[in-house]
Chain length 223, copies 2
């Protein structure tokens, strides 16, 4: 899962990024609305976390901009302004949820999941692949009801492949599923993850195999 965080308080932003990354969530962060729009054009985010007070304007103005561009990504507004009337204002303008500061990361994640669970989002809640059952929202993998413990990056690779099981996933897609902009990647780290993940899936008899499509990407296939 990949989120865009639009927030000018640097401390909150980094704290949030760290907390989310531990949950396996990749977060891109920007402080400016102008950058934000460009980022949404280059990445398919699962959701956007939007602050209201920003150096270059009221955050809410970003919502119509995005919607007019045909982008339906769910938006959760994060703000200290938490009066009922302001909530209405935010929701009416097209936000999907509204969360007052301060908040618990757990609550934020629950709301993100809730927003992604809505019928207008076709995010599958349960993917069956081979003997595995994968919950892409909670990021857990189970084999015969027994949870399978995977390192974070390998888990992200697996989920990204499982979301399109049986179909090729571009190498670039995998990269954006696992890394954010800050992490530069300058080696075969992704290949290494794939290799280690393969070994783990084999050991666990997961009933799937990861195939390579040379020059294009990878593909998860059931056996």
């Amino acid at each position: 899962m990949r989120l865009l965080l639009i927030e000018d308080e640097r401390e909150l932003a980094t704290a949030l990024s760290v907390a989310l990354s531990k949950l396996g969530i990749v977060t891109d962060h920007t402080m400016h609305l102008a950058d934000a729009f460009e980022l949404t054009r280059q990445n398919a985010y699962d959701a956007i976390l939007l602050d209201r007070r920003l150096p270059d304007g009221e955050g809410l103005t970003f919502i119509p901009t995005l919607r007019r561009a045909g982008n339906d990504t769910p938006i959760i507004v994060l703000t200290a302004r938490n009066e009922p009337l302001e909530r209405v204002e935010g929701l009416d303008i097209g936000a999907d949820d509204y969360l007052g500061k301060p908040f618990l990361v757990e609550e934020l994640m629950a709301r993100v999941r809730a927003v992604l669970r809505r019928p207008s989002n076709l995010t599958e809640q349960r993917i069956v692949a081979g003997r595995m059952v994968i919950d892409p929202l909670h990021l857990n993998v189970a084999i015969d009801a027994a949870p399978l413990d995977l390192p974070r990056r390998e888990l992200l690779v697996l989920v990204a492949l499982a979301k399109r099981k049986g179909k090729t996933v571009l190498r670039s897609t995998l990269e954006t599923a696992v890394y954010n902009y800050e992490d530069e990647i300058q080696s075969n780290a992704l290949d290494a993850h794939i290799s280690r993940l393969r070994k783990r899936l084999l050991d666990a008899a997961a009933g799937v195999a990861i195939h390579n499509i040379r020059g294009v990407g990878y593909l998860l296939k059931e056996e």
Copy 2:
């Protein structure tokens, strides 16, 4: 917009077709599941309206058949059986929406629009060519849900041809689709790709043929 209507009550079917045509929607109609599958292979429908009681069986059985063939077209089930449990049954098996008879055409259209508005349906554009289903965004080619593993350059040629299937594609267009400016090309490399691609399509019984238009370019034709 083009819909497939699978419905055995002839009066309802014609009434619906007329009503939909006034909204600018083209409707193909069949009464039999057997025909329906063939139709979905020859046309890229925006959505499918499916009755449950049909002369040759329970309509819901069509859904797994279609999904297994790699077809993600949204399906709206139309039926007199409108008990809550039956709705769950329909949705769990992979239907996108469920509408009890009788219904207003307005409501049906609203639901069609809602289903089409879902993100995965907006981004997931597919090209049907012969027995192949091609997703040009993800560079994905499948025959009966089985992914077809093609080398990168041949894949690019196929996608470029499929995007304009039935129409000639200039040789220069193909070249720019496969090569970037850095790669200078000074041989018949493109011809070689075409040749090898032909062989692969033949082996896979893809149901298409690549024709040459002498001095102009190539053309992908369904058989």
